[in-house]
Subunit: 130 residues, 2 copies
Amino acid sequence: MKRNTWQREAVRSALGTQMGFVSAQGLHSSLKNSGSHIGLATVYRALADLAQEGEADSLQSPEGESLYRACSLEHHHHLICRSCGLTVEIEADEVEEWARRTAQQHGFSRPEHVVDIFGFCSACVPPVPA
Amino acid sequence: MKRNTWQREAVRSALGTQMGFVSAQGLHSSLKNSGSHIGLATVYRALADLAQEGEADSLQSPEGESLYRACSLEHHHHLICRSCGLTVEIEADEVEEWARRTAQQHGFSRPEHVVDIFGFCSACVPPVPA
DNA sequence: TTGGTATTGAAAATCATTATCAATACACTG
DNA sequence: CAGTGTATTGATAATGATTTTCAATACCAA
Ligand SMILES: [Zn+2]
Ligand SMILES: [Zn+2]
Ligand SMILES: [Zn+2]
Ligand SMILES: [Zn+2]
């Protein structure tokens, strides 16, 4: 059976203090800076569990890293700052409907969609434009 | 200046024969099986270039791998079969507009969005439902 | 307490991707 | 066509994130 350890609680808690998505490595650093002696592998395991159980949302950064965040339970999407990670949860019934309709039109079943927007929040000055 | 090598052409060509997204490793294997002696690093470089120049689309698989595909030039999104990889290009002005509007409403600049739908195509019987 | 077993974590193992760097192949010139 | 400057190649080492190992440890039910 699943056990309760201070480590899991520490990860859950630390994730809650984050403003946006964080990587396992990032959360681990954060925990260490707070004096925790939790192991990196444990953070990876805890985050995977939280995501699995629906307590956390996870997504792949454009660079391919797995990022996690404690989010609301309902299905939603994200507006993420590429610089500071600030995340805004957004609902988009419009998009939900579009995804459903599109999948159906092409005969695809059990559709799941990935819909996230990355940009620079008002507090972050956009780096040198292309 | 940029040079034309058989390697680049081989990658471009091989990518064209794929019906869905492929990883660099996968395309390299495919090329080798066809008798090519192209190097893995070169495939990575060629794919990165093609993506850069807009000749190929790239996205992250749910497992975090970078996948590539020869796609049409205009901005579009994808409907991908989780089983056979079959990919359908879809346009969604509706979503483009929504993404732009949403980013703006929250003060985000230089927005980029990730919008893809994964499901099972009509030719693939959905595996055991959850 | 005690015993059975999840869980932990330091370190090693994976794996995809990138960097090295000497050798090679292009493109252009004469 | 030969000669030159340099972009490209590719075997291999290096990176970096994530996973696995596995002995030590912490949970928790009894
Ligand atoms: Zn979320
Ligand atoms: Zn920001
Ligand atoms: Zn495409
Ligand atoms: Zn299919």
